[in-house]
């Protein structure tokens, strides 16, 4: 068998193999997994949607903004981490800022966020945790650190006319420790916290 004839035959074999594999791996496999997922874990498979007052308000896994349309923080809600997804918190454009450690724009942004929090929450710069000042990798990070959540308690309580201790207790009850004690970091899910907050009377 000459090399050229061999190559032609191989190409024909390759094509058939590829098409068969595409059917098996590209169509049957994902559909089968979808079927299993929808039967066994429908909530997760469909985006871990959460409801408030009977309507879907988002996904527990996807960060959302609690700001005015212009991006000004609404004081009555716990604020999420800054987001670099699209124009911010854009579910169609996940992603980080990709600003390098010496990036001017990042330095400016951090300084601005810090100034804003200093102003809105009346705290000194050294008390502001890093997650409050930095954008996440996905721009859709649903969590903030307990420190950042607790830092926001006085502002939220004041804005809602609630007692600080009640709000603080709410936050503390919402702190999720590390999985198995050593995976990840202690976090507070902002959307779930705010849903609980809205229900707090």
């Amino acid at each position: 068998m000459s090399a050229r004839r061999g190559s032609a035959r191989q190409a024909w074999v390759a094509l058939r193999a590829l098409l068969l594999m595409t059917v098996a791996l590209g169509i049957v496999f994902p559909l089968a997994i979808t079927a299993i997922a929808q039967l066994a874990f429908p909530a997760q498979a469909n985006g871990s949607l959460v409801r408030s007052d009977g309507r879907v308000v988002g996904s527990a896994l996807i960060e959302q903004s609690f700001t005015t349309a212009k991006g000004v923080a609404l004081p009555q809600w716990f604020q999420s981490r800054p987001s670099a997804a699209g124009a911010g918190y854009d579910g169609r454009a996940s992603g980080g800022s990709n600003a390098g450690p010496e990036s001017h724009s990042l330095l400016t942004a951090i300084a601005a966020r810090r100034a804003a929090i200093e102003k809105s929450d009346g705290v000194t710069a050294d008390r502001i945790p890093a997650d409050a000042l930095t954008a996440s990798a996905s721009g859709l990070d649903p969590d903030i650190s307990p420190a950042y959540a607790l830092l926001q308690v006085p502002r939220v309580a004041a804005a809602r006319g609630l007692s600080e201790s009640a709000v603080r207790a709410l936050v503390e009850s919402r702190i999720q420790g590390r999985e198995l004690g050593y995976l990840g970091e202690p976090v507070v899910n902002v959307l779930e916290l705010n849903i609980a907050l809205a229900a707090l009377k």
């Binding site: 074999v13 193999a17 791996l25 496999f29 871990s48 996807i62 700001t67 992603g95 450690p101 990798a137």
Partner: protein, 561 residues
């Protein structure tokens, strides 16, 4: 920092423990899968349909032709699917992908690189994702393992003119190894919160009254093979940082383990097939050493948080997800860059300069510790050939590895192998700055962070492409004609030239009769040889990339540390 280090130690310990537990059963299973003379019924049907005789063996040139034919078909089909996207069902109304990007993406997924010049949410519909990309996630991984197995067979062979049957190897790799693992992984990921549906985006009104679009799609089925096959191409732009790809710390840990499990078990398969399990342990131990050292260094650097922005913010959390923390991010980043996966759960571009440099160094090691599925093993074995050559001379014998002599032909092929990737990385990076028109485009359009960090972005891109990793300093706008083309070429040559060299090497090793082991034979299963192998990997890459690293991450990191 102390507490964080304990966390790191515990997480690293978990990874190592699980890999150690999986090493023997999975490695033995894979050895059995490739060595078994029996064909499953579904396989026999498949061979009949594609018209191959599974019992016939191929010479190395025939094996090469089969690899190239299969991969070329893959590139053509994937390119075509993207170009006619608007005609396909479930395309979410997205249009055709432009030529350069379609070329880049097709090459990227077929070469197991999964570099993404595009933002998936905005570019690709479901059909291209699952019928095109996900299929290549399986097949490119299966090709990698097949080539590695062919090389291992050659070491075990005596006086053989054939190195196996590619169609059988690729079919078994897919059906017996990747598919079952991916199915289990997919279900686990769904349980953790990864979405798996056929809905598009749906719009919700948020708690505060704004609107937000929540994405959907067959994510888990693709995510599973993306990780198991060390592919790394994300369903979403944010890749495994996206909460729908990687919702929880434990799913992140699961992904780390799944990335590493096949590459780390393949040395066992190697040991089994050459009938000397100690050889497998030696290779695995070398890989593990790199993994432990590299992940520790990167973690220390990120926890140290040097550089202006991390200092100003108080920690290097820009581009990192809080649920993973710094430790969960660096462990993932190390796993991903050492395995040629290229998935990220944090943005390497925003790492500290030296931490990001570490990600680059991981790739510059040649993706051998443990490297991509298959490619890591064959890469490590080629470097072992080089190490054996120098060491063999030093013990006064014609160098031999597993009884196979390393003569001029073997040395030529091994040398060409180690020459290819550095040449592609350095030439690609240099050309990006040397060609006048291109230079303007690269510095003006592509680079997101001007200055030293911008150089690092370009260097990272070519390092990632030529080593078939696929991760990025993602600030770089790579969707330009130059970068799409140049990176596409780098990925293609970085994948297929080494494969041709490896298979040619396999052909020439298979023909040899093994030399018997005597006291004069250099033992290749001891700590001593492991150390030598580590030294060779480090020295070869350090000497090659030192100037380039000096101009990027070192210059930036040392200035601001």
């Amino acid at each position: 920092m102390g507490a964080q280090l304990w966390l790191f130690a515990a997480q690293l310990g978990t990874v190592i423990l699980v890999l150690a537990v999986a090493y023997r059963p999975l490695g033995d299973y894979m050895a059995f899968a490739y060595a078994s003379p029996r064909h499953l019924r579904v396989e026999r049907g498949f061979y009949r349909l594609i018209g191959v005789d599974p019992s016939s063996e191929q010479s190395w040139p025939a094996y090469v032709r089969a690899v190239l034919a299969f991969s070329t078909a893959g590139i053509v089909l994937l390119y075509a699917l993207q170009r006619v996207q608007e005609l396909l069902p479930w395309s979410l109304g997205l249009g055709p992908v432009n030529e350069a990007l379609a070329f880049n993406t097709a090459v990227s997924f077929v070469t197991n690189t999964n570099w993404q010049s595009y933002s998936p949410e905005a570019t690709l519909g479901f059909t291209v994702q699952f019928a095109g990309l996900a299929v290549q996630n399986f097949l490119s991984a299966a090709v990698g393992i097949a080539v590695a197995v062919a090389l291992v067979r050659a070491f075990a062979a005596r006086h053989s003119s054939t190195i196996g049957n590619f169609w059988v190897d690729v079919t078994r790799g897919t059906l017996r190894i990747l598919l079952p693992l991916a199915a289990i992984a997919a279900v686990l990921l769904v349980a953790g919160g990864v979405v798996q549906n056929l809905d598009g985006f749906h719009t919700v009104t948020t708690l505060s009254g704004a609107t937000q679009e929540i994405p959907g799609g067959p994510v888990a089925s693709q995510e599973a093979i993306k990780i198991v096959g060390t592919n790394g191409g994300g369903y979403f732009n944010a890749n495994s940082a996206h909460p729908f790809e990687n919702p929880l710390p434990w799913t992140s840990m699961l992904q780390i383990i799944l990335m590493l499990v096949i590459p780390f078990a393949l040395p066992r398969t190697f040991g089994r097939l050459v009938n000397d399990n100690r050889q497998g342990y030696a290779i695995a131990a070398v890989m593990a050493t790199f993994f432990v050292v590299s992940s520790t260094v990167m973690t220390l650097l990120e926890l140290g948080g040097s550089g202006s922005a991390p200092r100003l913010a108080g920690a290097a959390l820009e581009g990192k997800e809080l649920r993973f923390g710094i430790v969960g991010s660096t462990l993932y980043g190390t796993s991903s860059t050492l395995t040629s996966t290229g998935a990220v759960n944090s943005m390497h571009d925003s790492y500290t300069a030296l931490g990001g440099g570490m990600a680059m160094i991981n790739m510059m090691l040649g993706e051998v510790a443990p490297g991509g599925v298959g490619s890591g093993l064959y890469g490590m074995l080629v470097i072992a050939v080089i190490a054996v050559f120098i060491a063999g001379l030093m013990v006064g014998r014609t160098p031999e590895y597993l009884g196979k002599k390393i003569r001029a032909r073997e040395m030529t092929l091994a040398s060409l192998y180690i020459l290819t990737t550095p040449a592609l990385v350095l030439a690609g990076t240099a050309l990006s700055f040397a060609i006048p028109g291109v230079q303007a485009d690269v510095t003006g359009t592509s680079i997101a962070n001007p200055g030293l960090h911008g150089f690092s972005e370009v260097l990272y891109a070519f390092t990632s492409a030529a080593n078939n990793n696929g991760s990025a300093f993602a600030g770089l706008t790579a969707n330009t004609p130059w970068l799409n083309t140049a990176l596409g070429v780098a990925m293609m040559l970085g994948r297929f030239l080494p494969i041709v060299f490896v298979l040619a090497l396999a052909g020439s090793l298979a023909q040899q009769d093994p030399v018997p082991v005597t006291a004069g034979t250099l033992p290749t299963h001891r700590v001593q040889f492991g150390g030598l192998l580590i030294g060779t990997v480090v020295l070869v890459s350090a000497l090659t990339y030192f100037p380039a690293l000096a101009l990027g991450p070192l210059a930036e990191g040392l200035l601001h540390s």
